[in-house]
């Protein structure tokens, strides 16, 4: 009897999974690659001939500005998440086990809460006649309300607020694994606190840092609704550009090329993450 017939269950499961992934992941992504090299068409969205115009358009000063600005805001978001998250994860891993479980739970509650609603909640605080301005005016610290909403700063605050748990969780996991003996050993061998931090803690937590950067940087370029709600209706993020090209301007080739830009960024970050893990593995074995 043929092997396939001997294991009907295995075969059925594999066909189901592969079928789903090929149809709804691989094919759609190939379609995007295809769309990016076609020509814009107002009627059917896409038409021949094939060309690389949409990629050239990415370097059009108008859009290049948007991309660089989006990268800058995503970069700021990542830096703030790292600055807040690194000491946070370190402090968390020093607590008792039971307290850690509770605090991790409190960290993922917002993650399970509607992100639109949380973005909107920030609006209540940041608006011109919002709570922060009212409080500052009431305390007599300012004479005129500060303009905080509809600025790039508000967008970065929103992104940090939504993405912080994604930085903390991988960092916490590496700090949790970080062998305390290793730190002690380094200390016993005469290394000072700073030296231990520079030569032991930082390299050992690097994979966590890179995982966190990946989980924050990429979404920070794509979360168009944060820019819409807190930044006003301007093209602030790559996500807004992609959304506009697909839903409003109907320039599919260009939208597809912008999306491929994000995919390439992801590939680079994934590669860096793997590299850091492998290097760490080699050092541990050595």
């Amino acid at each position: 009897m043929h092997r396939v017939l001997q294991q009907p269950f295995k075969t059925a499961v594999l066909i189901l999974v592969w079928g789903w992934l090929l149809l709804l992941v691989l094919t759609p992504n190939l379609l995007v690659v295809g769309a990016s090299v076609m020509t814009r068409d107002p009627g059917t969205f896409l038409s021949l001939p094939l060309n690389l115009d949409s990629y050239r358009q990415l370097f059009d000063p108008l859009y290049l500005d948007v991309f660089l600005n989006s990268l800058y805001m995503a970069g700021m978001t990542t830096v703030f998440c790292l600055l807040i998250g690194y000491p946070f994860a370190w402090a968390l891993s020093g607590l008792g086990k039971q307290r850690q479980t509770l605090l991790i739970f409190l960290l993922i509650v917002p993650f399970w809460t509607n992100s639109l609603v949380r973005t909107y909640a920030l609006k209540l605080l940041l608006a011109t006649n919002g709570l922060i301005n009212n409080a500052l005016l009431g305390l007599g610290l300012i004479d005129e309300p500060l303009r905080m909403l509809y600025t790039e700063g508000a967008v970065v605050i929103g992104l940090v607020y939504l993405l912080l748990p994604f930085m903390i969780l991988p960092l916490y996991s590496v700090f949790d694994d970080l062998r305390k003996e290793l730190l002690m050993a380094s200390h016993d061998l005469g290394a000072g606190k700073l030296s231990t931090f520079l030569h032991v803690t930082i390299p050992l937590t690097l994979p966590g840092v890179l995982a966190g950067v990946m989980l924050v940087l990429l979404p920070a370029m794509g979360l168009f609704f944060v820019a819409d709600i807190l930044g006003g209706s301007r093209n602030l993020l790559v996500g807004n550009v992609i959304k506009n090209q697909f839903l409003d301007a109907r320039d599919w080739p260009f939208g597809a090329a912008a999306s491929i830009l994000l995919t390439v960024a992801m590939a680079v970050l994934l590669f860096a993450h793997r590299l850091s893990q492998r290097r760490l593995g080699d050092e541990a074995r050595a």
């Binding site: 269950f9 295995k10 499961v13 594999l14 999974v17 592969w18 789903w20 992934l21 709804l24 992941v25 691989l26 094919t27 759609p28 992504n29 379609l31 995007v32 769309a35 807040i84 000491p87 402090a91 968390l92 605090l103 409190l106 960290l107 509650v109 917002p110 399970w112 809460t113 509607n114 992100s115 639109l116 609603v117 949380r118 909107y120 909640a121 920030l122 209540l124 605080l125 608006a127 009212n134 607020y161 912080l164 989980l215 990429l218 979404p219 370029m221 794509g222 979360l223 609704f225 819409d228 709600i229 209706s233 996500g239 959304k243 697909f246 597809a256 999306s259 994000l262 995919t263 992801m266």
Partner: protein, 256 residues
Amino acid sequence: MNRWLPKTYLTLVYVLLYLPILVLVVFSFNSSRTGYRWGGLSLQWYESLFNNHAMVQAMWNSLWLALTAATISTIIGALTALALHRYRFRGKRVLRGMLFVVMMSPEIVLAISLLALFLLVGLQLGFISLLLAHVTFCLPFVVITVMARLSGFDESLPEAARDLGASDFTMTRTVLIPVIMPALLAGWLLGFTLSLDDVVVSTFVSGPSYEILPLRIYSMVRVGLKPEVNALGTLLLVFSLAMLMLSQWILTRSKR
């Protein structure tokens, strides 16, 4: 190092994380119309929320979508996790890699690729397109949850079942499924929440025939402030808190 410094720092971050949510909850009971000033306790925003038929319809649509998407992704995800755990097959690493990439890639990339597919095959945007998209982004999360449970599992049980003459299907049904039950529930709850929360993918693959809650909220909050959103946000918060606690309870109970 100072002992209270880390604790103060942790507390400060938690206060900042929860402050906006707290403000939202408090203001959902505010009777003032302007939205920023406190005008006394009132349930009027909850009332106007439930009197809004389009809103209630969108709520039901979202719940039904989340329910079906979570169920289908749990079934396919669990089977995938079992296959990855139990079988050797060609392309196993590619399969794992694809699931990982789906999980890591920005939602907007997934969103436009699915939109392109649906338009190419001529699928009308609505419930079916939303369902296919939601199952796709929930799938990897279910697979990881179930894989984590399987990796800590005693291999002798399925072998014993096989020795006793059980077929693969029977063994899966009688031995493996009960073992992974807590992970199935946790994965289902995660999928349900992800689906209920999604804005990015739904923006692209939904049509006018099937309006869902996040998109309705989105159109409300883009301009200005809508006090009804405070009430709705509070309800969603209570709901997801309950779901999360249920999921944690299932997972901890099963560890004992």
